[in-house]
Amino acid sequence: MAVLTVKNLAKTFNLGTPRASRVLDDITFEVRGQTFVSIVGPSGCGKSTLLNIISGVEEHTSGEISLTSDEGRPARMGYVFQDPRLLPWRSVLRNMMYVQDDQGEATVARARRYLDMVGLAKNADFYPGQLSGGMQQRVGIARAFAVEPDLLLMDEPFSHLDAITARGLRAQLQDIWAQSKKTVVFVTHDVVEAVELSDRIIVLQPGGRIYEDIGIDLPRPRRQTDPTVATLQAEVLARLEAMKELGRTTEPVA
């Protein structure tokens, strides 16, 4: 059963003014349960705007979005941002509880379990300022998983981290995802990252249209050093290069 359905979605900023600019155009896709979908594309192609529209932070101009939950209640969403977005005056555990509907003991235990999964069980009472950037981002990831979301949105969560920390967190994300099997929509500009993590890659082109929808059928867990992963990464990169070339020889889509 589909969890997320996006149909003919469009977004124009400053609509009805001379400064109107269309950033998303006729976007249609479906994300089924327990899949990890990445949205990739060059800077400014509307990836983050699409995620913000799905999350409800941003309004869309036209088209439809629907989110389905199996349990007869409104669908829950988790969001991992580019930066951790933690309340600096609350401890790590209290930051995780801030976004929870239920504040009971069972929820605290669940929050602690996810903190343990990201290796921060001992830091539950620390303030964010006492943690490194990578540790803070792990809290952000644990917070998103701990709300037990029907759909988890991730907006370039590793883009502000150094390469070593980002690699460690990607491996950790794969492990948590393998255990929880949440439905994930992951925005990145890094094709290598997308191939390592995803079941499917949706490529957006400048002007905010879908260029290609690529299935990634590789066994998990995946590591960048694995030759099959590396080969597929090169192939997807080549397709993106082709898209770039096409953009140079044809009219802009927008």
Binding site: R85, W89, V99, G129
Partner: protein, 274 residues
């Protein structure tokens, strides 16, 4: 042929090394506490000099004597207690109402448009006008000083809190909306802690401005209190007694700020020091 040049080594000392090599007396003399003591001593010195130069300026010794006499007459506790009661209620009301209006103004542009002009008008009315008006409206009693304290101090709390709320991180507010955090929890756990510094600044202003208000209302309205007693000495042309009451209340405000407000602020911001 090359000549060997002498290498210059610029070795920087660590802070612990600098601390070790600085004599203890010098460290004490350049401490914050020494600066505070120096300010107090300078003030006392200027006061003594002025009292020696001008006959109508009572010196510190005379002021302390007059204060002692007031204690002996049993005037201090009753009058000081009355003022404290009126001042406390006025400032507490101003803090609660000011935070509520400030949060509304910070969160909603409609509330901002509604409250902006009244707050500006209230800010521009001096405490003495409120004192006259409340004495005319409510007569002699507790109500005039309480309302004067409230009216003079509430706009300062409102302006500070509204400014703080508008500065709350947009990212954190978006994060809260994304996770559908209830508005009451957003206000309690996000907005109020984020504006704690602005609230503290607003309450400090409220205390200082409210003090003016309560004294003026008591001065004109009678009915006991520090302002009333200060005026009694002023009418008797005895400036020592007048100054004794001023010193008593100023001393109280300074102690309140240092030992209550300052500690509360440090406690509220202990996460920042961690």
């Amino acid at each position: 042929m090359s000549t060997a040049s002498q290498a210059t080594v610029d070795r920087r000392r660590s802070t612990s090394e600098i601390e070790r090599s600085t004599p203890a007396w010098r460290r004490r003399l350049t401490s914050d506490r020494a600066a505070r003591v120096a300010a107090l001593l300078s003030f006392l010195l200027v006061w003594v000099l002025l009292s020696l130069l001008f006959r109508r300026v009572p010196g510190p010794v005379e002021v302390v004597q007059r204060l002692g006499e007031e204690f002996a007459r049993g005037e201090v506790f009753g009058n000081f207690g009355s003022t404290l009661y009126r001042f406390g209620i006025g400032v507490a009301l101003a803090t609660v109402v000011g935070i509520a209006i400030g949060v509304l103004m910070g969160l909603s542009s409609l509330s901002r448009a509604f409250f902006e002009s009244p707050v500006l008008v209230a800010l521009s009315i001096p405490a003495i006008i409120w004192a006259f008006l409340t004495v005319m409206w409510f007569g002699f009693g507790d109500l005039s000083p309480i309302v004067t304290t409230f009216l003079t101090s509430v706009p300062f709390v409102v302006v500070n809190v509204a400014q703080g709320v508008r500065g709350v991180s947009r990212d954190l507010r978006d994060m809260s909306s994304t996770y559908h955090v209830p508005v009451s929890r957003q206000v309690r756990d996000l907005v109020l802690p984020a504006v704690a510094g602005y609230i503290a600044a607003g309450v400090r202003f409220a205390i200082i401005i409210g003090w003016n208000g309560v004294l003026l209302a008591e001065w004109f309205g009678g009915g006991g209190g520090v302002g009333y007693r200060a005026r009694w000495w002023y009418d008797a042309n005895r400036f020592g007694g007048f100054a004794a009451w001023v010193v008593l209340f100023v001393g109280f405000i300074v102690l309140l700020d240092r030992f209550v407000l300052d500690r509360a602020i440090r406690r509220a911001f202990r996460w920042r020091d961690s």
